[in-house]
């Protein structure tokens, strides 16, 4: 199985009624591990079905395949349905390239730094 780790930390100073988490991805997400790794995010969504704000830190993510992009789209759908939000920070150029070619950058905003992503994530929207 290809090496990949997902770690989750709390983001303090969340908006009232929301839960914000920093999710760090390290390694490569491919056919050999993505189904297993995706369970971590589904569990997080299940624990926080409403107003969950996720900052995906992709600094350590070296590769993602089409199935992992499919999961990302599914998480986006589930989160926005519950009034939540996903933003991406520090993605490498090859990761941004693949997100762009499948059209995901039109759904999920990507930021070069964690601070910019955090600022955007914690901005109140019409739903929270």
């Amino acid at each position: 199985m290809t090496q990949a780790t997902i770690t989750i930390e709390d983001i303090p100073a969340s908006l009232q009624g929301t839960v914000a988490k920093l999710v760090k991805f390290v390694g490569q997400l491919d056919e050999s591990n993505v189904d297993e790794k995706a369970k971590t995010i589904y569990a997080l969504i299940e624990q926080n079905p409403k107003n969950l704000l996720l900052l995906f830190d992709f600094e350590g993510l070296e590769y993602m395949n089409s199935k992992s992009i499919g999961y990302l789209t599914d998480w986006y759908g589930k989160l926005t349905e519950g009034g939540g939000k996903i933003v991406i920070a520090k993605a490498k150029s090859n990761i941004l390239d693949i997100l762009q070619v499948v059209g995901l950058t039109q759904l999920i905003n990507c930021y070069p730094t964690a601070d910019e992503a955090k600022f955007a994530l914690l901005q109140p929207t019409a739903t929270n």
Binding site: M1, T2, Q28, D30, E31, S32, Y63, N65, S66, K67, I69, G70, Y71, T73, D74, S93, N94, D97, I98, V101, V102, G103
Partner: protein
């Protein structure tokens, strides 16, 4: 061996290079093929680093497709790289046609065409590999049934965009007036 002609730098630079790799049908081996593809494109072709990463994804998606639909566990898939210096890279992935959800070349082509339609909405986890990644990042994508066996998927990417060539022919055409 003194009289054996040695390849010159010039012949190496102009001669097509063909490499074939056979892999067991197991996703475990695919990360090695990704690394190989990245190194090959970066070091042995004239494509940029960005394209090396793109081909890494293209090869990964083609191999996963062959493992999932083409060859049952315990069998093999074959990957061939053909680099034509100053011109193109061609990648061919072949399976044995024994996979659990078998598609014919025509069925797969139809599926990709449907999913390439700008109005097509991808809703599931799967289905973006061939239509959104492989098709977008290649100039030619061809599916072919291998008689009595599986399928061959062939992609080709030219160093120069073929559309640019067509456009430059058009601009040079004596039958058209080009407004500056």
């Amino acid at each position: 061996m003194e009289n054996t002609p040695q390849p010159t730098v010039e012949s190496l630079e102009t001669k097509p290079m063909k490499i074939t790799i056979t892999l067991p049908t197991n996703a475990y081996f695919i990360s090695g093929i990704r690394d190989f593809t990245l190194g090959l494109i970066k070091n042995m072709t004239e494509f940029s680093e960005q394209w090396a990463f793109r081909f890494q994804s293209v090869v990964d998606e083609l191999c996963n497709n062959a493992i999932e639909h083409g060859s049952m566990p315990g069998q093999e898939i074959k990957i061939t790289f053909i680099n034509v210096p100053h011109e193109s890279i061609e990648i061919i992935v072949e399976d044995t046609g024994t996979g659990k959800v078998k598609f014919s070349a025509a069925e797969l082509q139809k599926l990709v065409n449907e999913r390439r339609n700008p109005n097509y909405v991808h809703t599931g986890i799967r289905g973006r590999g061939l239509s959104k990644i492989v098709a977008e990042w290649t100039d030619e994508l061809e599916f072919k049934d291998i008689q009595g066996s599986g399928m061959q998927v062939r992609i080709k990417k030219f160093l120069q965009d073929p559309k640019l060539k067509e456009m430059s022919n058009f601009l040079e055409s004596p039958t058209h007036l080009v407004l500056q």
